[in-house]
């Protein structure tokens, strides 16, 4: 048993103090020590002994006494011991400070420790142990760099100062310089091979940190050899075992942990790991127990944070998000930097996400991402949060990154695809395709939602075949295939009862009777609906019809199917059935805004204005005014109300227009990109005469509307054309109308043809105008306004031709035919008016007939004249021709004569020569016989011949002269006649001029009229555009997507509806055209006055 001997002062005696029997009250010992003035090292020894025995109070008492000023005075020259005492105190308080959890007391402890060390330093600046102590203190305070300096001072003095070496090693370890630390530990071990196992622990930790796992393990094992109960080494080894990630390793590790726990149940680290383990084995009760103990025994931040984390995790997995959140929060609080321990941030983020605190969750996940910038999961979570926060772009960025980092993560691609669906269909398509490929590669089944969305994307891009293939894949096998492939056709139904055809389920019942199983899983309904929608788009309406009915057969509450069926019926102008179907839909949900809107449209079609307005109101109310479609419809309603009346009431018109504008503006305020509202606003502007503004609007809308399968806005083309027309730019207007007709209506819209004709009319292109009207009549033979207009055009054409000063007979002839046609058309109309086929005034038509007849008579006169002229011209031409012929003949004869003369001359010459020769011969003979009579006879013969010739020539010349004279005379008479005719023409001209002047003034009227009329068509067109509805932004989830889809259906069906809404227009336009008729009528009347 160890004893100390306190020498008794002034004697050789000593007081023996058995160290294990130190009195409980330290004052006893102190008294002895003081009384005997025992050397200070004894004080220290005794104090240390108390410390070892855990009697801290006594320890402190002795040391405090031992460092009191009296002692200082008394033992002034005993420097080392005094320092040692002070250092001991310093170390004690450092320790206290280190383990103290409360911040304030902790600081107090540190301050005390600092004071003691400073005091020690005052005794000897260079005492290494003081510096070591200071270094430890600084370490405890976390002031690593200063601690480093302190230890360095020691080590500079003494290379092998073990405590300093250890301290420095610790510093380096904390600085993360593990190899330096390792060196220091090694040196300490070399210098002092018997140092405690803890040194080897340090080595082990360094090696562990350096990744030299095996060496670390050796070190720890060595520690355990030296000190089998060394908890740290056990824990370290256990951790290493656990991290092997193998079942055996984990088991071994857990055993070690358990032992460590048995040896020392308060090692927080071990507790945490045990808790961790039990968390994974699902023993949440143990987890809580262990972590609570761990929390109680440690105040080491990271460890505590780990404990909290474990606890939080436990609650998290139990679904107690509130508590989990609290503990995560506590865990996070213990962490200085997210880098140290990032998991609680993740957990916290998750819990906050669950609890809906998106912003906090966001910041936590972002912290995680800082630490692990490539963590896919975090990115995906962040992406989702941004989606929910509405920051789609950021969300997309994260998703994109996630997919880049892990290009095999199908889920990430799916998410990305869904995100992109709204903003970038092409990219979404790519993403979803990749996801599909990945899923297939992985042998997983591709979810039907994905295929559905893929199909929809293809559909939207107009890739109908691909869409169909995808939908088919999504649908898989089922009864629907027989319908899609057309194997099963609807059975014959009574044609007179076929009005109910779209509603009957007869077919399916029969199939069931035949033993077919008709099943339709709910998950596939959406896709089936989309398939049907696609078939509709492909004009396979029959099959679409059956599919919708199939859906309704199984799910009679599927409103969208009713609406689509109604839309189909409507597009086939089966209004009654359509209304019935919409009412069915309303039975399911009486506030369904889509159904209400549609009902309103149908009522408008039935000319049920008041009802329609009510319905639109209801639709608008059902969505609390958020449904732009209903608002737009109301706007359109007002617009129509403004322009529908034949007799315009300016006041009423203005209020309606104002209201319409207000409603359009409202929609635009909600959805600034709503094309239909913009179009409507443009129409109102045009109506008010602000053509430049409206033109700008229309042009922009037109640009925006191009490029989507679903957005088809012919109205804006028409409106633009109207504006051109109103501004007098006829050629552009014509082009615009024609393009619109061709692009949207397959040239089948007689109304637009009417607009076109009207433009031709204003441009005075009568033939084009007539042809256009004839085309329109051919398309819509029962539209009598077209016939009337055709008559008017022919009349106008004729009148204008007759007014021309110069006209060819052909022209006049054409005029006569046209007038004949016009008379016939008007007469027919007149006859038809008896039967009330149309709304024209009989008298009006009769006036036209009269006028046309009048014109016809005039034209006939003209025709005679013209024909006469023509004949004369023909005569004249004939004469000229004859003249030319005669000239030719004369010339030929002349030539002939010349030729003959020459020949004769030559012959004469020859003759003469011959004669001379003969004569010569004769003379020769005369010379022989000598007779004169024969010679004279010969000469007379020659003379005779010459005379005949000359006379002939003379006669010919005379003839020519005569002819000249006569032709001249004829010219003169012609001139006379011409003059007479000119006179006639002048008379006519005057007539015409007055006519013209009057019609001119009228044209001005017409211009005004034209504007009005132009706006009328605008109105008409405006009506059609009603169908707007910016899709309510659908969310990323599939169900929402689906809804959006059906919304877009609605849209689109409304778009489709447009052409058919023209009947409604017609009713209102009727008036307009009639207006034009009236104007024409005025024309007729004026001419009648003539």
């Amino acid at each position: 048993m160890a004893c100390v001997y306190i020498p008794v002062q002034n004697s050789e005696e000593e007081v023996r103090v058995a160290l294990d029997q130190l009195p409980r009250d330290a004052s006893d010992i102190l008294d002895i020590l003081k009384a005997e003035q025992a050397p200070l090292d004894l004080w220290l020894i005794i104090a240390r002994e108390y410390f070892k025995q855990g009697k801290l109070e006594q320890f402190r008492q002795i040391l405090e006494e031992g460092s009191s000023p009296e002692i200082d005075e008394y033992y002034a020259d005993v420097r080392y011991e005094r320092i040692a005492i002070l250092n001991a105190l310093g170390a004690y308080y450092s320790y206290l400070g280190k383990i103290e959890t409360k911040q304030r007391e902790k600081e107090e402890h540190f301050i005390l420790a600092t004071q003691y060390y400073n005091k020690a330093s005052r005794i000897d600046m260079h005492e290494p142990s003081t510096w070591v102590g200071k270094g430890q203190l600084l370490l405890a305070k976390g002031e690593i760099e200063q601690a480093f300096a302190a230890f360095k001072i020691v080590l500079d003095g003494d290379h092998d100062n073990v405590p300093a070496l250890l301290g420095q090693a610790c510093v380096q370890f904390n600085r993360g310089r593990y190899s330096d630390s390792l060196e220091l530990y090694k040196r300490a071990l070399q210098v002092y091979p018997d140092c405690p196992a803890a040194v080897r622990l340090g080595i082990g930790l360094c090696r562990y940190k350096l990744g030299q796992i095996d060496k670390a393990r050796q070190a720890f094992q060595r520690v355990l050899q030296l000190d089998p109960e060394n908890v740290e080494a056990l824990v370290a080894l256990a951790i290493m075992d656990l991290h092997t990630d193998e079942a055996t390793g984990i088991r071994k590790g857990m055993l070690k942990m358990q032992r460590a726990f048995e040896i020392y149940p308060y090692c927080a680290m071990a507790l945490n790991y045990l808790a961790n383990h039990f968390f994974f084995t699902g023993q949440h009760f143990l987890v809580e127990q262990l972590t609570e103990t761990a929390l109680a025994v440690t105040n080491h931040g990271p460890t505590k944070s780990h404990s909290y984390y474990n606890l939080a995790r436990s609650y998290h997995s139990k679904g107690d998000y509130e508590k989990a959140g609290l503990y995560y929060m506590a865990s996070v609080k213990e962490i200085n930097k997210p880098h140290e321990f990032v998991f609680p941030y993740y957990g916290l983020g998750q819990v906050q996400l669950k609890l809906g605190d998106l912003r906090s969750a966001l910041s936590n996940f972002e912290k995680v991402l800082e630490v692990y910038p490539d963590n896919c999961d975090t990115m995906k979570v962040l992406g989702h949060i941004y989606v929910q926060l509405g920051q789609t772009e950021k969300a997309q960025d994260f998703m994109r990154k996630a997919t880049k980092i892990d290009p095999r993560d199908a889920q990430a691609f799916l998410d990305l695809g869904e995100l992109l669906i709204l903003s970038d269909a092409a990219a979404a398509l790519d993403a979803l395709k990749t996801a599909r490929i990945l899923l297939k590669k992985g042998g997983q089944e591709v979810p039907i939602e994905v295929l559905n969305n893929l199909g929809v994307l293809h559909f939207e891009r107009g890739e109908f075949e691909l869409a169909q293939k995808t939908f088919r894949e999504a649908l898989g096998d089922g009864i629907w295939l027989t319908f899609i492939d057309g194997k099963e056709k609807s059975s014959p139904v009574d044609a007179s009862a076929s009005i109910l055809q779209n509603k009957d389920v007869h077919l399916f019942q029969q199939l069931e009777k035949e033993g077919h199983l008709i099943e339709l899983p709910w998950t596939k309904v959406t896709t089936l609906f989309n398939m049907a929608r696609l078939l509709e788009q492909l004009h396979n309406t029959e099959t679409a019809n059956i599919l919708y009915r199939l859906i309704l057969f199984k799910y009679p509450d599927y409103v969208d199917a009713y609406l689509r069926l109604a839309a189909i019926a409507k597009s086939r102008s089966n209004i009654q059935l359509s209304i019935e179907l919409v009412n069915d839909a309303l039975k399911v949900n009486e506030k369904c805004p889509n159904a209400l809107s549609m009902l309103g449209d149908l009522e408008l079609k039935n000319d049920d204005w008041v009802k329609a307005k009510e319905t639109f109101r209801a639709a608008s109310e059902a969505t609390e005014g958020k449904d732009s479609y209903a608002t737009l419809s109301l706007g359109n309603w007002n617009y129509f109300a403004a322009v529908r009346n034949e007799k315009r009431a300016p006041k009423l018109e203005a209020t309606h227009l104002e209201k319409a504008k207000e409603l359009y503006t409202k929609v635009l305020a909600q959805h600034s990109a709503n094309l239909y509202a913009a179009n409507g606003a443009g129409v109102v502007f045009a109506e008010k005469g602000h053509f430049d503004v409206s033109k700008d609007i229309f042009t922009q809308v037109q640009e925006a509307a191009s490029g989507s399968v679903f957005v088809q806005m012919p109205d804006v083309w028409i409106n633009l054309a109207h504006v051109y027309f109103a501004q007098g730019n006829f050629s552009l207007a014509v082009k615009m109308y024609q393009n619109c007709l061709r692009k949207f209506f397959y040239n089948t819209d007689s109304q637009i043809l009417l607009y076109l004709a009207r433009t031709h009319y204003e441009a005075e292109q009568w033939q084009d105008c007539k042809k256009t009207l004839l085309r329109a009549i051919h398309l819509a033979p029962s539209n009598y306004t077209l016939r009337f207009d055709a008559g008017v055009v022919m009349q106008k054409f004729s009148a204008s031709t007759l007014q021309k000063t110069k006209k060819a007979a052909d022209e006049v002839r054409l005029t006569v035919t046209e007038l004949g046609n016009a008379v016939r058309v008007f007469k027919q109309l007149s006859a038809a008016s008896n039967l009330h086929f149309h709304g024209f005034d009989e008298k009006k038509i009769d006036t036209h007939v009269e006028y046309c007849k009048h014109l016809l008579d005039a034209a006939r006169v003209h025709l005679k004249q013209a024909e006469h002229d023509e004949q004369q011209i023909r005569h004249k031409q004939e004469a000229i021709r004859q003249l030319a012929l005669a000239e030719e003949a004369r010339r030929k004869a002349e030539e002939q004569r010349k030729f003959q003369a020459e020949r004769r001359m030559r012959e004469d010459e020859q003759k003469r020569v011959k004669q001379q020769e003969e004569q010569f011969e004769r003379i020769k003979e005369q010379w022989k016989s000598s007779t004169l009579g024969s010679k004279r006879r010969e000469r007379s013969e020659v003379d005779d011949e010459e005379g005949g010739n000359s006379e002939k020539r003379r006669r010919k010349g005379g003839k020519r002269r005569k002819k000249d004279r006569s032709s001249k005379a004829r010219y003169e008479t012609e001139e006379d006649e011409g003059e007479i005719m000119d006179d006639q023409e002048e008379v006519e001209d005057e007539n015409a001029k007055t006519n013209y002047a009057e019609s001119r003034s009228q044209t001005n009227d017409q211009d005004d009229d034209a504007e009005e009329k132009a706006s009328d068509p605008l109105a008409a067109a405006g009506l059609e555009d009603s169908d707007a509805e910016d899709e309510a932004a659908p969310g990323a989830t599939i169900s929402r997507r689906r809804r959006a889809w059906s919304e877009s259906d609605e849209d689109d069906e409304q778009v489709e509806r447009q052409p058919e809404s023209s009947p409604i227009i017609e009713d209102s336009v009727d008036g307009e055209v009639r207006g034009s008729g009236g104007k024409q009528d005025g024309d007729g009347a004026v001419n009648d006055e003539d």
Binding site: T541, Y746, L774, A832
Partner: protein, 318 residues
């Protein structure tokens, strides 16, 4: 079954071609294709090269429909000025000019025996029957007007009769109206029998199957072709696929296929056994107003189509 293009004539007329029919062969010549156009002419073409035989004038305001007498000697045309002109095919001599004011004339067809010419009577809501020997009006088959105090202008304009067809036995006449109703008449008794419902938009052409006498096809603006049992009042089926109005329909001589012409600029061939379009010809660039099979079995199957794009096309049908 298949269609193969044989020949197309661009600018066959100066304006849109609206009507086409085959004039049966006579002893003197082979069958001819007769076309009518907005340019107020009727032209005769000789297959298979579509050589222009003759251009007949004498029509006003565009030719809406043409029909040929089964004998092949005479033909008739109706124009927008509401006249029917009957003329000799080979000489263009006008045989008769028919009108029944105040009604319009639209589609016309000779009965299979050639004794009667049926003319769709437009707003008179009737079909007029003309005796082909005397050219007298022999009967007016009126669609019964819906009950009501007085016919509103709306309903009457909707009953405007556009199309007409004879059953192969000549006992029935059916007509199609603007409102989509199809009415069946008994010719002998000049009596209205019943309606065939299913369309709600103008029915522009009707065609009976030459092989199944009760089977009637209707082409309508609702983009559908409906199949009816005209006697049994039942709708046998409907075929959709055109993306715009179906303007004309004709049944192949073998009764196995129909051809349709549509505003969507295509000519489609439908297999009746599959009730599906088997071929789509898109050589026209505008609405196809008329399709017509060369009647009579045996020999080469021929289909002609005419269009707003002023062209006519001839196909081989096999």
């Amino acid at each position: 079954m298949k269609l193969a293009g044989l020949k197309s004539v661009e600018n066959a007329h100066d304006e849109s071609v609206w009507a086409a029919t085959w004039v049966p062969a006579t002893d003197a010549r082979s069958a001819l294709l007769l076309t009518g156009s907005l340019d107020e002419t009727v032209k005769l073409w000789k297959p298979d090269d579509l050589l222009l035989q003759r251009t007949n004038t004498g029509h006003c305001l565009g030719v809406a429909s043409v029909a040929a007498h089964p004998s092949g000697h005479i033909a008739a045309s109706s124009s927008l000025d509401s006249f029917v002109r009957v003329f000799d095919v080979d000489t263009n001599v006008t045989i008769a000019t028919l009108e029944a004011p105040p009604s319009e004339v639209w589609q016309l067809r000779f009965d299979p025996k050639g004794t009667i010419l049926a003319v769709a009577g437009g707003s008179s809501a009737s079909v007029k029957l003309w005796d082909t020997a005397t050219w007298n009006l022999v009967a007016t088959l009126s669609i019964p007007r819906p009950e009501g105090p007085k016919p509103s202008d709306k309903s009457s304009s909707k009953k405007f009769v556009l199309s007409v067809a004879w059953s192969p036995d000549g006992r029935r006449v059916t007509c199609g109206s603007m409102d989509g109703t199809i009415s069946v008449f008994d010719v002998a008794r000049a009596k209205f029998l019943h309606h065939l419902e299913g369309h709600f938009m103008p029915v522009r052409t009707l065609a009976y199957s030459p092989t199944e006498p009760r089977l009637l096809f209707s082409a309508s603006d609702d983009a559908h072709v409906n199949m009816y049992d005209a006697e049994g009042k039942t709708m046998v089926g409907a075929m959709s696929g055109h993306s715009s109005w179906v303007l004309s329909v004709d049944v192949s001589p073998d009764g196995a296929a129909i051809a349709t012409g549509s505003s969507d600029r295509t000519v489609r061939l439908w297999d009746l056994s599959m009730r599906a379009a088997v071929q789509t010809m898109s050589n026209h660039t505008d609405q196809v107003w008329g399709v017509t099979f060369l009647p009579g079995g045996g020999g080469a199957g021929r289909l002609a189509s005419v269009s707003d794009d002023k062209s006519i096309s001839l196909y081989d049908y096999s």
